[in-house]
Amino acid sequence: MQTSNVFHAPRFGAYFKKHIVDNLRLYLMSLVVLVGALIALGLISIFTDNQVLIRPSRLLPFYAILLFGAGLIFTGFSFIQLGDKPKGIDYLLLPASHLEKFLTTLLITTVGFLLVYHIAFGAATFISGVIVALSNNKYSMKSDLPDDLSRDLQLLYHWWFMCQAIILLGSAYFPKYSIVKTLFAVFIFILLIGVVNATFMNILFYGHLAHWAASVPFFGAPLIENGHVEEYRSVFLKSPKWLLDALYFAWRFILPPALWVLAYLRLKDKEI
């Protein structure tokens, strides 16, 4: 029977297994480093605090920083093999489809990373808790997690997936030094949007802008009415709510998958 050239579950399984076997040592070492870093940060945070009351909310910034730091560095190495000719040939010529190879990378850098990160964070918190418990009851713990934590976490994860998708796309385009190059490309992209936006705003509201560069792309622009008289009126002309809602929806749910698709297409077109 002819198997699909796009997706074939047993072949995908074999490729996934191969990927794990090839990278197992690296992943285990990364896990140990991650747990160690989390424990060290947690303990430094607890023991450098003069107060005897330990507040779990103090861990949240570390949780977020390492989630972004470790996750994005990990994603940045997604297609590093394409920057090395022998490894790139091995990767591209292995008889699995581009989709299977890409899905493996996507799953490892999203589901795989988040799973391992939370296991590492849980393990680090537990170990830190044990160490604190052994410190002769010098410290006591009081739960002070904010009530709207789930909303904050939701926002955090929307940003994380957005950044992950950007770095993954960057890794497909710049296999070597992908994070630095991607950040530079993002900076240039934002600068271009700012310049284009400022140009259009100045054309549309010439003489009425509070400052030629004061408009915020996609959100609105501060305008001044009767600016030539002493008692002028300043207003912030906002984009309509429906547009902001649509943009926010696209930012959260459409842009990350769109960037993944672009990364996949780049992989298909890759030459060595």
């Binding site: 002819q2 198997t3 050239n5 074939h8 072949r11 074999a14 490729y15 297994k17 191969k18 076997v21 090839d22 040592r25 090395d84 000719k85 022998p86 490894k87 040939i89 091995d90 591209l92 010529l93 292995l94 008889p95 699995a96 489809s97 581009h98 077109d269 030459e271 060595i272």
Partner: protein, 260 residues
């Protein structure tokens, strides 16, 4: 890249792809493997568009690159993870090739020398039984006994369904191994003939004095005399001096090419 390239390679042959450094041999092999894309035209291999790199195509093609990668695992683990992608992989043949090359199966790839690793990847490539086997400078890094082992294993692996393309600039390594010759120069194919036709039309021999021979098409001098090429008027195939032929084909006069 190539301009106006028109080349057909058939199953059942061992092609020797010859050319100087930088002539375009590796680029051509990468085009065949789908690692480089033609700017215009198509590269079709076994009915597949090479640049799409579809699994059905890749599982019937194996490339041994000049600079290759092997993961830091044991041979057994390498086979366990890579072999499932090649439906015709022959485990016993792989072991036989390793035995021929005298590579111990239980050794870790990280502990091997470059030459040993090359023997492993050549053995694996042959054992995949792909219809198209491409090797880029396979004898680089092999010692003299290994080169002879290499010829032996290739000869054993040849069959009517398989097309083997071996690229090298060390032409003597392919003596008595290939049955067709393709010469590339300046990103153009300047010569493509089967060995039998070449030996039917050309006569390769050595003489002490150039005056001893008539109608010399090409000659090379050494301390021991002169290696020459003349027309084979008898038509009986003789021996082939690949290096002499290669140098003669690259000669600007193009006298050899005019005979084909």
């Amino acid at each position: 890249m190539f301009e106006g390239l028109n080349l057909e390679l058939e199953a059942g042959h061992v092609y020797g792809l010859l050319g100087k450094n930088g002539a375009g041999k590796s680029s051509l092999l990468k085009q065949i493997a789908g690692l480089l894309f033609p700017k215009s035209g198509t590269c079709t291999v076994m009915g597949y568009d090479a640049q799409r790199r579809q699994p059905a195509f890749l599982s019937n093609l194996f490339l041994v690159p000049e600079e290759f990668y092997l993961p830091q695992v044991t041979i057994n683990r390498y086979v366990n993870t890579y072999a499932p992608f090649y439906s015709n992989f022959d485990e016993s043949a792989f072991q036989a090739y390793l035995n021929e090359f005298k590579v111990p199966r239980d050794q870790k790839l990280t502990e091997m020398s470059y030459g040993q690793k090359k023997k492993v990847i050549i053995s694996f490539g042959l054992a995949t039984n792909t219809k198209c086997l491409i090797m880029d400078e396979p004898t680089n890094g092999l010692d003299i006994p290994s080169k002879s082992q290499f010829r032996k294993v290739i000869a054993a692996a040849v069959n009517e369904e398989k097309c083997i393309v071996i690229s090298t600039h060390q032409v003597r390594d392919l003596d008595n191994l290939i049955d067709s010759i393709v010469v590339i120069d300046n990103h153009r194919i300047i010569f493509k003939q089967d060995v039998e036709t070449v030996t039917e039309r050309l006569h390769f021999r050595s003489v002490k004095q150039l005056e001893e021979a008539e109608n010399v098409l090409f000659s090379e001098s050494s301390g021991l005399g002169h290696a020459i090429i003349t027309e084979n008027t008898g038509g009986t195939p003789g021996r082939l001096d690949m290096e002499l032929l290669f140098n003669a084909v690259l000669e600007p006069s193009g006298r050899i090419n005019q005979l084909f």
